[in-house]
């Protein structure tokens, strides 16, 4: 078996539509300093750095170079440093990168950092459109919203999900974000308010879609020996993985289901020996960039049968006080600094396990799930964290 690895420190920045108060390296430094403080470590304790971002939202290409010294002075110290980028899953891929650095046996304490300043671009959808193949498909303006609206219209068609269901998901997440000082959107939203919002791409309204945010996140991974010395509250990695679905979404037009995520969940649950996720998980931080996705993700992750995701929301199963709270942080729906968002999901799951989630803490969390999607709904990352050593 591979080395056991735990998360021993998490650092978040306040996210907003534009962090005009800081330069880019200052924003990254804010996250890194918070993670070091959380783990009570110094820069010299870090053996290697993994950095994630999705070029070019920030208007700076290969922005990790500009930010290299904000990462515990990695440049000046000639540290091992690796940039990973996988679109929306970047933050999740960055966490996996940190994890494998430790399991390799080459490093004991590894800093992972992810950042994005979506607020520096004047049109995020225009950047997202450059992800679309320029030969066949880019001309028609595909971006995240239009792709995801297809998920919603299919789910409505095949399973009878409604705009009210989406509005309930929005209201739940907005309420959670009010407990999260790092969240971008912090305002009260009722189901009635949500249903009056402007239609962006049918059936998605403004409140069904995440904002564009500036923000950064840092997480420190440590080996078993070092974790025990660093913290009394490690969050152990119990299962993890990534799946890569094919690019041409025309090959997989069953948008009402997310079978790529189902396949990955089965692999990761097997590794973590989880049979009934609804009962065995205590909290889940899902990448719900859009309300409909939280519904489909709950289904694909086996919290309920396919087509029954909206029912979970209606019954309050995924509320803060429900059987399996989903996104106590307010989720991606309320905060989305794209390349950093995946690492925030893993970080929020870790904070829940560590008992450090303050006002958004779910009581008595033992096992938490972090989920990330990206790449025209083709990629997923999952990480299961646990209070007990696996």
């Amino acid at each position: 078996m591979a080395r056991r690895v735990a998360i021993v420190g998490v650092g978040l920045t306040k996210c907003s539509s534009h962090r005009r108060d800081v330069t880019y390296p200052e924003l990254v430094h804010e996250a890194v300093s918070a993670a070091l403080a959380d783990a009570n470590l110094k820069a010299k304790d870090i053996d290697a750095v993994v950095y994630g971002s999705m070029d070019p939202f920030d208007g700076v290409f290969a922005l990790e170079r500009w930010n290299v010294d904000a990462c515990v002075g990695a440049g000046a110290a000639n540290m091992p440093f690796l940039k990973l980028t996988t679109g929306g899953t970047t933050g999740g891929s960055t966490a996996l990168g940190g994890y494998y650095h430790v399991t390799s046996g080459m490093f004991d304490v590894v800093l992972t950092v992810a950042s994005q300043r979506v607020g520096e671009t004047l049109e995020a959808q225009l950047v997202l459109n450059t992800a679309i193949d320029p030969i066949y498909e880019r001309w028609m303006g595909g971006g995240a919203i239009t792709v995801v609206a297809n998920q919603a219209s299919s789910h409505f068609h095949y399973y009878g999900t409604t705009e009210e269901d989406l509005a309930m998901v929005a209201a739940k997440n907005y309420a959670c974000a009010l407990n999260n000082p790092y969240a971008h959107l912090q305002r009260h939203l009722t189901v009635e308010d949500a249903l009056k919002m402007r239609m962006l791409s049918w059936p998605l309204r403004l409140s069904d879609c995440c904002p564009s945010s500036d923000g950064a996140c840092a997480i420190i991974f440590a080996s078993e020996e070092r974790a025990a010395k660093i913290t009394k509250t490690p969050a152990w990695v119990r299962g993890k993985g990534q799946i890569t679905d094919n690019y041409y979404i025309g090959d997989r037009p069953w948008f009402q289901d997310w079978d790529g995520l189902t396949m990955l969940a089965q692999r990761v649950y097997k590794e973590a020996r989880i049979n009934n996720p609804l009962q065995e998980l205590d909290v889940a931080e899902l990448y719900n960039a859009f309300t409909i996705q939280e519904i489909i993700e709950c289904e694909a992750l086996g919290f309920c049968e396919p087509g029954k995701g909206a029912e979970l929301v209606r019954k309050g199963v995924t509320d803060m006080g429900g059987e399996l709270p989903v996104c106590p942080s307010g989720g991606t729906l309320c905060t989305n600094p794209i390349g950093a968002t995946g690492l925030i999901r893993i970080g929020e799951a870790a904070l829940q396990v560590m008992g450090k989630a303050d006002k958004r803490q779910v009581p008595n969390v033992k096992t938490a799930l972090g989920h990330v999607w990206g790449a025209a709904i083709g990629f997923h990352v999952l990480m299961i964290l646990d209070k007990e050593k696996p």
């Binding site: 225009l126 028609m140 998605l204 690019y247 025309g250």
Partner: protein, 161 residues
């Protein structure tokens, strides 16, 4: 009250030129659109699926592809949304983006739906339905690009095959 410090914003813009290679697969596909108003897919020699858009290999079988198959000008709408907000540099709203499974193809082609008034936000979803039959509308002046098909429109029921 302390005076708030002035924070400056530096303007920036990327205008990076690229020349994207279409290669022999996309080139032939676009030539057929331009010269013959025909839509071609490719068939994987192993799983036998007819794939759109044409590509040099099948991701699932990891096999090289060299068989071309003409598919229909008509097909079934499998997915859609109707976009109501303008995005910088992209076509003006409202536009319906669709995935259409052309007759004889196993995968869907990404395109847009036209020939329908989408301006009423409440009524439009009643006019566009998953499973409806659609057909290609060709431009008169074709340039050898995906836009040579101006849009897909609903097939009138009397003309349904």
């Amino acid at each position: 009250m302390t005076q708030e410090e002035e924070i400056l914003i530096m303007p920036g813009a990327w205008n990076l030129p690229f020349r994207h290679t279409a290669g022999r697969f996309a080139s032939r596909f676009f030539r057929e659109l331009r010269d013959n108003k025909k839509i071609f897919g490719v068939r994987c020699p192993e799983c036998r699926r007819v794939l759109l858009p044409p590509r040099p290999f099948c991701e699932r079988c990891f096999a090289s592809i060299d068989e071309w198959v003409e598919v229909g000008n008509q097909g079934t709408l499998e997915l859609f949304t109707i976009c109501y907000v303008p995005f910088l540099g992209l076509p003006p709203p409202p536009i319906a983006t669709i995935m259409v499974k052309l007759d004889g193809a196993d995968g869907c082609l990404s395109h847009i739906l036209g020939g329908i008034d989408l301006s009423d936000v409440d009524k439009a979803p009643e006019l566009v339905k998953i499973g409806m039959r659609v057909e290609a509308v060709w431009r008169d002046e074709r340039k050898g690009e995906i836009g040579d098909i101006e849009y897909f429109r609903p097939v009138k029921s009397s003309r349904r095959a």
